[in-house]
């Protein structure tokens, strides 16, 4: 029996010839990640059980991105705890205010994660790096502590669902629309415990930023990981970023998939997830009149260069609707710099937006854009659960940067083509 792409990477990291779905294995890790919310819990566990060294100071990343620049004394204490630990153990990839970005935008951008690697992170959106053809999955703080101490983690080998992509996206349709469409189709537990493997001739038409936003939301379908076949786009992206050898794995021709979905990219329309689950999707032509109070453009899902560029393109020479607040958060310092140099920041400010240094902030209702009772936001983030962005009676509508920017201009959920013609 052949192996899926995920199974091949797991087998290699477990030192096994082959693995099958359901098998429990122990894998060597290439990277262990945590942020300012999950790392303090991991550090407490690490210390409590008497560990005194990390397995490899170059293979641990700590990114202070959730409540930074720190929003209150408690979160400042947490970040300080991470900073002290990182200093004590000389952690190479420690990123704090000024050089940090949102973790899942930062690590691929800096080449800290690469194709074929096995990565865990104490953050559910760690599945993002599957866009590079890596096995990457979210875990909790205790797993992070164990990973930091031993360089290993246990996994149950997942079965998989295959998404065979064909065609090309239309203008103003983005990777975000594809993944929202898929989650709407299979549900928030449609891939529970499974891998989502993306391949097919349509892959070449998806940019790396599109793929990163799609892999990012695999967890929103319950998946263990989302992974993309490696092609020229992946290899080109890693040039100048990844300075070490990396390995490209391909699924076997006879790999077993529990289901295969054919997705014609040219048929995907701009898609919005209504409250309070990512699976509650409608295409923009089905939304009706949904008036909004706030727009958030950013996050580990959609704060990358192409996302910010798309929003700027739509806002250029326009102003956001009266009564709407629009917050734009480039996900990393490099994206922020590019936005400044290319004039996108000026476009946003002229349009009446607030622009922030990188932070996860509003996505999880942390800071920088909390909603009041009864308020509605269109956000390029990844979750619209009850209370996610603030008051339990507020609402979050998930959408692409193109839809979010268009909605900010009109003050209601809007299709970008309404504005751009």
């Amino acid at each position: 029996m052949g192996m899926t792409m995920t199974q091949k990477i797991l087998a290699a990291h477990a030192g096994l010839e082959s693995v099958t779905a359901g098998q429990l294995i122990k894998c060597k890790l290439d990277m262990v990640l945590g942020n300012d919310v999950t790392t303090p819990v991991a550090i407490n566990e690490f210390n409590k059980f008497g560990f005194t060294q990390v397995f490899d100071k170059d293979k641990i990343s700590m990114v202070m991105d959730h409540f930074t620049p720190n929003k209150d004394i408690k979160s400042a204490e947490h970040t300080k705890q991470c900073r002290v630990f990182a200093g004590k153990y000389d952690i190479t990839h420690y990123y704090d205010v000024g050089d940090m970005g949102i973790e899942h935008a930062l690590l691929p951008e800096k080449g800290i994660v690469a194709s074929g690697e096995c990565i865990i992170g104490a953050d559910s959106h760690t599945c993002t790096y599957g866009a590079l053809g890596a096995f990457s999955t979210g875990v909790g703080s205790t797993d992070m502590a164990a990973g930091m101490a031993t360089g290993e983690a246990w996994f149950k080998v997942p079965s998989a669902i295959k998404f065979n992509l064909t065609g090309k996206l239309n203008e103003y349709v983005m990777g975000k629309d594809v993944i929202l469409h898929i989650i709407g189709m299979i549900g928030v537990d449609g891939a529970l415990y499974k891998s989502m493997e993306f391949m097919g001739e349509g892959l070449k038409n998806l940019s790396m930023d599109d793929r990163l936003s799609m892999a990012n939301m695999a967890i929103e379908a319950g998946a263990k990981n989302g992974i993309f076949a490696v092609d020229d786009v992946t290899i080109e992206y890693q040039k100048g970023r990844v300075d070490r050898e990396y390995k490209i794995y391909e699924a076997d021709a006879d790999a077993e998939y529990e289901a295969v979905y054919d997705i014609d990219l040219s048929q995907i329309k701009p898609t919005v997830s209504f409250p309070h689950l990512p699976e509650n999707t409608k295409t923009t032509d089905e939304c009706g009149e949904v008036k909004i109070d706030q727009v958030v453009i950013g996050s580990c899902t959609n704060g990358r260069s192409e996302d910010i560029e798309m929003a700027a393109r739509i806002m250029k020479g326009r102003h956001i609707a009266k009564g709407v607040r629009c917050i734009v958060i480039p996900a990393t310092q490099a994206v922020y710099m590019e936005a400044m140099q290319k004039g996108w920041l000026a476009t946003f400010i002229e349009a009446g937006c607030a622009v922030s240094t990188p932070t996860c902030g509003p996505c999880l209702g942390g800071h920088m854009g909390i909603l009041a009772q009864g308020e509605r936001a269109v956000a390029t983030t990844n979750r619209n659960f009850v209370g996610r962005m603030g008051h339990p009676e507020s609402e979050v509508y998930l959408a692409s940067p193109a839809v979010a920017a268009a909605s900010a201009i009109t003050g209601k959920i809007s299709d970008p083509s309404e504005i751009m013609g």
Binding site: V37, T38, T126, T142, V188, G366, G387
Partner: protein
């Protein structure tokens, strides 16, 4: 080992943002987290929960964020076991790693109502609903996971 308690019942897709909202993630203190457990979907939970009580839910319990604060908040609130039809995978891992017993059992999730008195035998996986006089058989843990639990959690199992 057996536990026995009163049931707090929830539906599908109980996510970690409602188990413990992110506005409280600026603390790692177990009691402080427990004080806000479930408050966005059930403001009465914290007032009513008693040591040893049992939480029962349906599909995909614990979906969303990887925050270990979620199983910690549930455990620190006094809950002795969570039963669900299915669990989201990160929550499942985290619960085992921190020593919060969880059982997958669709029949129990469907049969048990809020307020029922339920007894769980972890050795046999038998769940007894004393109020309705019914029993349900849960999936036993694989040996590998039993070993982690028996050794007192993941980190303890690594040290020994």
């Amino acid at each position: 080992m057996k536990v026995c308690g009163k049931v707090h019942k929830y539906g599908d897709n109980v996510d970690t943002d409602v188990i413990i909202p992110a506005r409280y993630l600026n603390t790692a203190d177990h009691k402080e987290l427990a004080a806000h457990c479930m408050e966005d979907i059930d403001t009465e939970f914290v007032k009513n929960v008693k040591e040893g009580d049992i939480m029962v839910a349906e599909q995909n319990f614990g979906c969303g964020s990887s925050r270990e604060h979620a199983p910690i908040a549930i455990k620190a609130s006094g809950i002795s076991c969570v039963i669900a039809s299915t669990f989201a995978r990160i929550f499942y891992r985290n619960a085992i790693n921190i020593g919060l017993p969880i059982l997958e059992c669709d029949a129990a999730a469907k049969g048990i109502n809020a307020g029922d008195e339920v007894e769980i035998n972890f050795d046999t996986g038998v769940i007894t609903n004393k109020t309705k006089n019914e029993t349900y058989q849960a999936q036993p843990f694989p040996e590998f996971i039993k070993d982690i639990i028996n050794k007192g959690g993941l980190l303890n199992s690594l040290k020994n």
